[in-house]
């Protein structure tokens, strides 16, 4: 039997330029309607002239291992897919929006067709052995799809020796996105 997958992402903010290619790639890949997005880009600049620091991040659903959206979904539409991802079964979704209120990362939106949608980690592509659309397009390779169950642990190799964080860990969500901080020195 093939080993169970446990997908997530390692996102290298040292190289991300906030270009948004990942946002457009997602929109066309997943037919995200005009006015909505599954991923988005944040450019954060801190400090005062001329001492400024910048971090760019491409954000999306964190595919939490302890996902409040799943916990609070009354219908089971939001669920763990067993491969480390959190998915929404739109044919069970009532649009009650409990999951939107529950998500500490504001990763979801109500699709105009009446169901709740969010990043699926391009499940349809994972199933075909492809990388996600956003990972594939990213010109800086800031986005990296990883399988945390992978034996040679590409993820560890990428993160070793660097300052890495996860977002809102204290929310108890156990998110599957890891961020290599922009404050790392080049080549760290």
């Amino acid at each position: 039997m093939a080993k169970q997958k446990n997908y997530g992402m390692v996102i290298d903010t040292r190289v991300c330029v906030a270009c948004s290619a990942c946002v457009y790639a997602c929109k066309s890949e997943n037919g995200v309607p005009e006015g909505y997005c599954r991923d988005w880009v944040v450019q954060e600049t801190e400090g005062a002239y001329p001492k400024l620091r910048m971090e760019n991040r491409s954000e999306r659903c964190q595919h939490c291992e302890n996902a409040p959206c799943v916990t609070y979904c009354p219908t089971g539409a939001s669920h763990y897919a067993g491969d480390g991802t959190v998915q929404v079964n739109r044919y069970r979704c009532t649009g009650c929006k409990a999951c939107l209120a529950a998500c500490p990362y504001d990763a979801r939106y109500v699709h105009p067709e009446g169901y709740v949608d969010k990043c699926s980690l391009c499940k349809h592509r994972l199933e075909q052995g492809l990388e996600t659309a956003c990972v594939s397009v990213c010109p800086t390779t800031s986005l990296n799809l990883v399988d945390f169950n992978e034996p040679e642990a590409k993820a560890d190799e990428m993160m070793n020796g660097k300052e890495v964080y996860r977002q809102k860990e204290h929310a108890g969500t156990n998110p599957s996105l890891y961020w290599i901080s922009a404050s790392n020195k080049p080549g760290a």
């Binding site: 290298d12 040292r14 190289v15 330029v17 906030a18 270009c19 948004s20 290619a21 946002v23 457009y24 790639a25 929109k27 066309s28 890949e29 997943n30 037919g31 995200v32 309607p33 005009e34 006015g35 997005c37 880009v41 450019q43 600049t45 400090g47 005062a48 002239y49 001329p50 400024l52 620091r53 910048m54 971090e55 760019n56 739109r90 699709h111 105009p112 067709e113 949608d117 349809h124 592509r125 075909q128 659309a133 594939s136 397009v137 990213c138 010109p139 800086t140 390779t141 800031s142 922009a182 080049p186 080549g187």
Partner: protein
């Protein structure tokens, strides 16, 4: 309020009324709805999918793309895995082609200007009518004034067929505005110094470099796919970046040092760096002795420019200047200064680029890992020749050092404006240049020139401003619906030839440029210019290169052997300059009557209460090319441009973040539309910044109309580089007019 476009021009009034522009619109808007609002299940259906490999047209980088077609529609565009400039990846604009092909405002059929009772309108025309009229008028003008009364302005890769057609017709006045503003100075600056171009992609081995210095050029916002890929790979490997920019750009955010240099003082800065390299003996003496000429002359020029002196000019502490120069030398030869792209900020772009080339030469990084490298081209035999009439002149430009390699332009675009004003040019054929919004000499001057044109043809895909002034509008289909000539002329790590091929049929009554050009050639009785079909032509060329159209259609590229980039120990270097060496002092500059070494010249300062207006790019847009692209423009960061203002300046003028103001320049021109204020620590106090490509005034651009403010409208003052004819436009200054 300055409404300089058209209102007061009766001869060539700007046509805003015709509803014919939008014939395709009703059908398109439902289509666009489908593109942009899917069911969220893109790959769910087991529809047959066709993947077509081609190359992108959203900027001149021309990355390889794969257009994915289902049910006769392109639903997504991804980066070609085969093309060396994409490596499977794209910049945001590359993905955005679907927003161009399915733009509901697209030009649907040919239009002919008609005057009725003092008012101009457009009428829908057949291709035969439009081509007949165009051919007749061009013929008449040629008969009456000679072929030199006709000029072609162009930008974008589809122009080649028109150029062939015009050459056979005897016309030899070609101008691409991008020469005047970006590629001209960097090209010539490099040629004068090294004997070869800086290249597109630039010959800088960024991914193996340890230390790269950027002057202004703002990678990350300026999104050349491959360069951005290399920079990020470099960062992963330990590349240190230094950015000189009056503004904290995205790239500055990645730099170990951001140096907010006073705009317009780069040459002083680079001279000071040379000064440090030489006085502290940090330069590569052996390399300089063996491979360069003019060192003494250079030293004589820069010896006075101590870091202390430069600190006063550039507003960067002397210690920082020393530090950067020393670190640059310490990492050399795996260190480089990047040539940049839009290099003509003032009238000294060529010499500024030469400073960059000289800094590289001083540290001896030529053909070294992480330094300056020279890529090679794929050996693609030239297109089969046919007879051209004798040209009166090969190069029409009056500037002595105007480009001296195979010209895609024979004069600068502002010369077209000037010659039109002098009645030397009577007809314009405009291919993919949105003239009123593309500097040349600023919007006002450009519109004055347009007013003098007897006959103006615009080939475009959209009702951009330029089409509103045309006598004939010829709707070209987009790059996703046509063949163009092979992209075979560019040197790169892996030499390549790339094919542009249609992914879907042309929509509406639009046609590929190659067909339009053929129709014109036929009407003008020019025989033998084109093969019977574009496929036949491409096949011939590819067969000459040992492949075939059928073969190349599969992946869209033909790849050569990777270039051998690095110098072998003891290898003797030669350069195609008059001296055969790197010319620190340029003999050609000297001969043409200019200073052989770069001199720092002080640029004018802003009047009290005004600020120098800087400009740049947004990663997801390419000015005219994407202005109306709803797919790309939808993001909150893309919808409009902001005017970046330092908090202290904001305080002084009582501006709050997010408010809308009008801008007024030193000549009293007031921006037609208001612009949003961005109060930010990310810019110096003596400059403001806005992205170019917004504030479109043509209502037929349903998305772009009135979003943000036009940068070009605020350009009243330009300086011309007397050596090569490039146009600098950064000596313009603005102040704020609060909304009443």
């Amino acid at each position: 309020m300055n409404m300089s476009h058209g209102q007061d021009m009766n001869r060539r009034d700007f046509i805003k009324i015709s509803s014919l522009f939008l014939a395709g619109s009703a059908a398109m808007s439902t289509q666009i709805g489908r593109t942009f609002s899917g069911t969220g299940n893109a790959l769910a259906g087991e529809h047959a999918e066709k993947v077509v490999h081609s190359f992108c047209e959203h900027c001149f980088w021309r990355c390889g793309i794969a257009a994915h077609v289902r049910d006769g529609r392109i639903y997504k565009i991804t980066g070609s895995e085969h093309h060396p400039l994409s490596n499977g990846k794209l910049c945001p604009r590359g993905t955005g082609g679907i927003g161009q092909i399915y733009d509901p405002d697209r030009l649907a059929h040919p239009l002919i200007r008609e005057r009725k009772g003092g008012q101009s309108t457009y009428r829908k025309a057949t291709w035969d009518e439009a081509i007949t009229l165009t051919a007749e008028k061009l013929y008449q003008i040629k008969e009456k004034y000679g072929p030199q009364a006709i000029a072609m302005l162009h930008h974008g890769y589809g122009y080649t067929f028109f150029k062939e057609m015009f050459k056979s017709f005897g016309v030899n006045k070609f101008a691409k505005p991008s020469f005047d503003f970006c590629c001209g100075p960097r090209h010539q600056g490099y040629i004068l110094t090294y004997g070869h171009s800086a290249g597109t992609p630039e010959g800088i081995d960024i991914q193996n470099s340890k230390y790269v210095i950027f002057f202004g050029t703002h990678y990350g916002e300026n999104m050349h796919n491959t360069a951005v890929q290399e920079i990020s790979e470099g960062i992963r490997r330990g590349l240190k970046i230094v950015v000189f920019d009056p503004r904290f750009s995205t790239l500055a955010g990645k730099a170990e040092k951001w140096l907010p240099i006073k705009a317009g003082t780069d040459i002083a800065m680079m001279q000071a760096m040379m000064n440090v390299l030489i006085t502290e003996n940090l330069y590569d003496k052996q390399f300089v002795e063996e491979n360069t000429v003019g060192f003494d002359e250079l030293w004589a020029e820069v010896r006075e420019m101590t870091p202390e002196k430069a600190a006063e000019i550039t507003d960067i502490p002397a210690e920082d200047i020393r530090d950067v120069a020393r670190r640059f030398a310490s990492f050399a030869p795996s260190a480089a200064v990047h040539p940049g792209r839009r290099t003509q900020w003032y009238a000294d772009g060529t010499q500024r680029v030469r400073c960059i080339a000289i800094l590289n030469a001083l540290v001896g990084n030529y053909k070294m890992p992480g330094g300056v490298v020279k890529y090679e081209k794929y050996k693609l035999p030239k297109a089969p020749h046919h007879h051209y009439p004798e040209f009166e002149k090969e190069i029409w430009s009056q500037y002595p050092l105007f480009t001296d390699i195979k010209p895609s332009n024979t004069m600068a675009s502002h010369e077209v404006m000037q010659q039109t004003m002098n009645d030397e040019i009577k007809a314009w054929f405009v291919y993919g240049v949105n003239v009123p919004e593309t500097v040349t000499l600023g919007r006002k001057a450009t519109l004055e020139a347009i007013d003098k044109v007897d006959f103006l043809v615009a080939v475009d895909t959209l009702p951009m401003e330029v089409t509103g002034y045309a006598d004939v509008v010829l709707p070209e289909c987009t790059y996703l619906e046509r063949y163009d000539d092979l992209d075979g002329g560019r040197p790169y790590r892996t030499p390549f030839v790339a094919l542009r091929q249609p992914a879907v049929e042309p929509m509406f009554d639009s046609k590929p440029g190659n067909e339009i050009a053929r129709m014109l050639a036929d009407k003008l009785d020019l025989h033998g210019v084109f093969e019977d079909s574009v496929e036949e032509y491409l096949d011939k060329r590819l067969k000459a290169a040992g492949s075939s159209l059928e073969e190349v259609k599969k992946t869209g590229v033909l790849l050569g052997e990777p270039t051998d980039l690095y110098r072998k120990p003891g290898e003797k270097l030669t350069f195609k300059t008059p001296s055969g060496k790197i010319e620190l002092a340029s003999s050609k500059m000297r001969e043409a009557g200019f200073s052989a070494v770069p001199k720092y010249i002080k640029h004018p300062e802003a009047p009290e209460g005004y600020y120098r207006i800087l400009t740049g790019r947004k990663p997801m847009l390419t000015f005219g090319r994407t202005a109306n692209n709803r797919f790309l423009n939808e993001l909150p960061t893309a919808r409009e441009n902001d005017i970046w203002v330092n908090p202290e300046v904001a305080k002084q003028h009582g501006l709050t973040h997010g408010e809308y103001v009008h801008l007024k320049n030193q000549a009293g021109v007031v921006s037609e539309f208001p612009i949003r204020v961005k109060v930010t620590e990310r810019i110096r106090k003596d400059a403001v910044y806005m992205v170019h490509g917004y504030g479109h005034y043509f209502k037929k651009l349903n998305w772009a109309y009135k979003r943000g403010a036009s940068h070009n409208q605020l350009i009243s003052q330009t300086e011309i580089d007397k050596a090569i004819g490039a146009v600098g436009f950064q000596n313009n200054f603005v102040t704020f007019i609060k909304e009443a």
